[in-house]
């Protein structure tokens, strides 16, 4: 049982956290509020994130912390709903026990927190929410997303499977019934319409988020005989779907694209040929990760500590904290070695480019991160989770310019767009 | 028209009422009239449809055929609340009280209902309601129990309390369903005596179902004998009680 750890952490944080009223004073520790799903079906995705935060903070502290200050995290469960998340955010911010936040996992919570970050002048890093709505509505000077955006992510998937299966005619979509699922479906449909107009969408299903059984959906998908099934199901839902669909032959019948498939590589037997990938570049075994040379050690330490290898939410979380670390270091330097104020940290985050464990990330002018997309197919390689036939898509090429309507931007693409894109297997 | 022709106008008039439950006719062409100021008793064997008749007159049931008039106005299809507002108040075989309220609150609610319930911001407990309620309680000898929760009153008193609620509506016709059943023989006449006095003082008409022949003989102006969903005999108590059919089916031969 992991819960006592959480409790002791909370207590430790409460005791250790010192007020940072005078930004110039170096605090005893750098308090960090970390928001993720710790319970409910979404915890299957949120918990690896939390563990990633624990491990990377442990490693940062072992190397002397950030600017000589150890980091102490307070974890908040997003499963309590927006209202609870917001009151926790405010409580942490206004109680002066934290200086920065890593929040949040769910898009709804990110949308709710971003104006709050500005209001409370709290540098906040969205570690996972990918919704393209986030920075469309209003700009926030304290809210940053150094990772994926749904547009880049799902356009990349469409490009990948079109290149791998050029004669695709029938496509089915099964996504969770909430904004993330619907957004992804509209992006996929728009991209298909632009890149391969003769493709027919034969089924479009949106099972309830957290649904336990997908049997009817599987029958329906099976009956509509699609060439490709696209899905951005995730967490417990994805695991459920894979385990129910595999014995019923769905993976033999069609090519299945699981946008968040990397997270279940270790827990389920995904049939070979299934297209999987990570949202962003957070694949710890990618060539770039190996080139940078930190991810593998991190993964081994992670396996040692938690009994399984990291999944991409783990890497996203760790990378987010590394981005924050870089921002603090930049701000300290800019501040002449003095501990920075929260305003200075936010300033440092603007336009920052950081080399994370898996690649480069650049925060562009609207605070959205430009990140490459790594996609491949399920491979077989010993005991380690593996992805073959990889392609790495340039994040900047797949992202609509800041402030532009993403769907309208996708509609401007043409089949010729495919030619300039990396091919499956090109990333080695 | 009954043998006892009265000069008073008919207050309640039921004509040709029919209703059946699962094939059994509980009312089969019933005609019955109550005149202004009259006390009419209904007697009859169990299950002959007496309570059903009261239920039709007060709107709880709708007859499949026939009509009920109150002072010439057709009330057949009206719900109980409209009929109550037209001037028929009812007391029940099983007392129907607001058991979580004190007796006086019960009565004040009844009085408030008469004045119009749509008062959301002025209190129920106001002097004029309280005075009127106490007056009724004193009339029926319940003043000592004014502050008792009606749920905790003993059965006999609850019966009486139920009647006071009907009283407080200041009706033209009071309908009573077995006012003395469940009341011990020791108290029966006492209660009826109080009741009759109160009714006379308010010039009420009454229609009541009763099993106790002594009570009927003493207090009813007219008796209607019920049998298997129709009126078998009707008239002055002393006459009706001599009818051999009535003797056999209702009163019983010792």
């Amino acid at each position: 049982m992991r819960l006592p750890t959480l409790r002791s952490l909370l207590l430790a944080t409460a005791l250790a956290a010192a007020p940072s009223a005078h930004a110039a004073d170096k605090p005893a520790s750098l308090g960090l509020g970390v928001f993720t799903f710790l319970s409910g079906p979404a915890a299957a995705y949120g918990l690896p994130g939390k563990q990633g935060a624990e491990l990377i903070i442990e490693q940062i502290n072992a190397e002397g912390g950030i600017g000589g200050v150890p980091v102490a995290a307070t974890f908040v469960d997003e499963a309590q709903g927006a209202e609870g998340v917001i009151s926790e955010y405010r409580r942490l911010a206004e109680s002066d026990s934290v200086e920065a936040m890593i929040a949040a996992l769910s898009s709804g919570n990110c949308l709710a927190l971003s104006p709050l970050a500005t209001q409370l002048q709290m540098p906040t890093i969205a570690w996972n929410c990918d919704t393209h709505q986030l920075f469309l509505k209003d700009a926030s000077s304290y809210y940053f997303r150094p990772n994926g955006n749904t547009v880049a992510e799902f356009v990349a998937y469409v490009v990948y499977f079109l290149e791998q299966h050029p004669d695709v005619q029938r496509v089915a979509i099964i996504n969770p019934d909430y904004a993330f699922g619907h957004d992804a479906a509209s992006i996929v449909k728009a991209a298909l319409a632009a890149l391969k107009p003769d493709v027919e969408i034969v089924a479009e299903l949106f099972p309830k988020l957290g649904a336990a059984t997908y049997q009817t959906e599987i029958s329906r998908l099976s009956a509509s005989r699609p060439d490709v099934i696209f899905s951005n199901l995730w967490g417990g839902d994805l695991e459920n779907f894979v385990r129910q669909a595999t014995p019923r032959g769905l993976f033999r019948q069609s090519t299945v694209v699981l946008a968040l498939g990397e997270t279940v590589l270790q827990s389920t037997d995904l049939p070979e040929g299934t297209i999987v990938g990570v949202l962003g570049d957070g694949w710890w075994r990618s060539p770039d990760a190996q080139r940078i040379g930190k991810a593998e050690a991190f993964a081994e330490a992670y396996e040692e500590k938690y009994g399984s290898y990291p999944v991409f939410p783990t890497m996203k979380m760790a990378n987010s904290i590394l981005v924050l670390k870089a921002a603090y270091e930049k701000a300290i330097e800019a501040n002449g070695g003095e501990w920075p104020s929260q305003e200075q940290v936010a300033e440092a985050l603007k336009g920052l480019t950081v080399e994370t464990m898996t690649g480069d990330v650049t925060l562009r002018e609207d605070n959205d991160g430009v990140v490459d997309q790594v996609i491949g197919t399920v491979g077989s390689e010993g005991d380690l989770p593996s992805i073959a036939d990889m392609a790495r898509f340039d994040g900047a090429a797949l992202l609509p310019p800041a402030g532009e309507d993403p769907i309208a931007w996708i509609e401007t693409l043409t089949p010729a767009f495919l030619e300039g894109q990396p091919k499956p297997g090109s990333y080695q | 028209m009954s043998s006892q022709a009265t000069s008073a106008a008919p207050l309640l008039q039921a004509s040709g009422l029919e209703i059946s439950f699962g094939g059994v006719k509980a009312a089969d062409g019933v005609n019955l009239t109550v005149h202004e100021g009259e006390f009419v008793a209904i007697i009859g064997p169990n299950g002959s449809g007496k309570t059903t008749f009261l239920n039709i007159c007060t709107g709880y049931l709708k007859p499949s055929r026939g009509q009920v008039f109150l002072a010439g106005r057709d009330i057949t299809q009206l719900p109980p609340r409209s009929i109550a507002r037209q001037g028929i108040a009812r007391a029940f075989q099983i007392p129907q009280l607001f058991t979580d309220h004190s007796l006086i609150d019960n009565l004040m609610l009844s009085i408030a209902a008469r004045h119009g319930i749509w008062q959301a911001l002025s209190p129920l407990d106001r002097p004029e309601y309280r005075a009127e309620a106490m007056e009724i309680l004193e009339l029926l000898g319940l003043a000592a129990h004014a502050d008792t929760l009606t749920g905790t009153l003993p059965e006999g008193l609850r019966k009486l309390a139920d009647i006071t609620l009907a009283f407080a509506l200041d009706p033209r016709l009071l309908v009573l369903d077995e006012p003395t059943s469940g009341v011990s023989s020791i108290e029966r006449f006492q209660i009826m005596e109080t009741l009759m006095k109160a009714m006379r003082s308010r010039k009420l008409s009454a229609l009541f179902v009763e099993h106790d022949m002594d009570v009927v003989e003493r207090y009813a102006d007219r008796v209607v004998v019920w049998n298997a969903g129709h009126v078998m005999a009707e008239g002055r108590p002393a006459e009706v009680m001599q009818d051999p059919r009535v003797l056999e089916s209702v009163v019983g031969v010792a």
């Binding site: 049982m1 992991r2 079906p41 915890a43 029958s219 695991e239 | -």
Partner: protein, 299 residues
């Protein structure tokens, strides 16, 4: 024709079988105890957790995989034996004869407690154990592959319905239960140990919920939050059938399942709302459910 209808029918029945047990338990508890047990869904998820854990143990210990079958039933029985009498005697018994508000709140409190207890005991990660499903293989119907386990579930649900009907109508205990349902006090005066009957009925309800959960594990994962989801679905099914109506629950399970299947096939947007829309429509037309009767008040 058959090609297209067969999968629809098969999906509807398989779906119905999954919700049948838990809805049936809810309605049974209500019919005897007159209590709407809000914690009923928790017993479903606890049954699922215990069954999945037991299955994982059997597989992990290298025992005969067919042992997972009896373990499904035994898990449900164990949950019922532990929680049924305990909860009935300590909490539920206290609410008899009090208002619905107390009953609903008491069981809502229990629901909150059980949700956290499950999280503490079983953790927050999903549990999967699909050995029983894997043992049975697959069948193709109308061009769609189905699991034989799904077909087994349909048969089990039908068998349970018939079995419980016989129990209620034709056994001594069943008849006495009927009397207890109609009039508690008279039952007591006639010599029926009503306390025992209540415990029995409640435990049977818990068993059915836990069994529903246990039988679902071979095809679905168990994760926190399952109880709350199942609860509303069971509510809807029980209400559509008429609270306390055993056959009603069975028919309602099929109707709700069919509505969801039709939604998924023809109007996916309506999938999540389907059970509630059916419930609203049914209750508007028949306020007390398909098989329910209004209580007529004698005055």
């Amino acid at each position: 024709m058959l090609q297209t209808v067969a999968p629809l029918l098969m999906d509807a029945l398989a779906n119905a079988a999954l919700i049948f047990f838990v809805a049936f338990g809810l309605t049974l508890t209500f019919s005897v105890l007159r209590i709407l047990n809000v914690a009923h869904g928790s017993f479903y998820s606890i049954g699922a957790y215990v069954a999945a854990s037991a299955g994982l143990f059997i597989v992990g210990a290298g025992l005969n995989p067919w042992l997972t079958y009896p373990s499904l039933i035994l898990s449900a029985a164990a949950v019922a034996a532990l929680f049924g009498p305990l909860v009935e005697k300590t909490l539920v018994r206290w609410t008899y004869g009090r208002g619905e508000a107390v009953q609903i709140l008491m069981t809502f409190g229990l629901f909150l407690i059980l949700e956290d207890l499950q999280r503490m005991v079983f953790g927050v990660n999903s549990l999967y154990e699909d050995t029983p499903m894997a043992l049975l293989g697959i069948t193709e119907i109308g061009g769609v592959v189905y699991l034989n386990y799904q077909i087994l579930l349909i048969a089990l649900a039908a068998l349970t319905l018939v079995g419980l009907r016989i129990f209620i109508r034709h056994t001594r205990t069943g008849r006495l239960l009927h009397v207890v349902v109609a009039d508690r006090e008279v039952s007591e005066a006639m010599g029926i140990d009503t306390g025992r009957m209540f415990t029995l009925a409640f435990t049977l309800g818990v068993f059915l919920a836990a069994l529903g959960g246990a039988l679902a594990t071979p095809t679905t994962g168990v994760a926190p939050g399952l109880g709350a989801e199942t609860m509303v679905l069971a509510f809807a099914v029980a209400a559509i059938g008429g609270l306390g109506q055993v056959e009603g629950a069975a028919l309602a399970a099929v109707i709700v399942a069919a509505a969801r299947v039709l939604a998924i096939y023809f109007a996916p947007e309506l999938d999540a709302v389907a059970p509630y829309l059916v419930m609203l429509v049914v209750l508007l037309v028949r306020p007390y459910g398909l098989f329910g009767k209004a209580a007529v008040r004698r005055i």
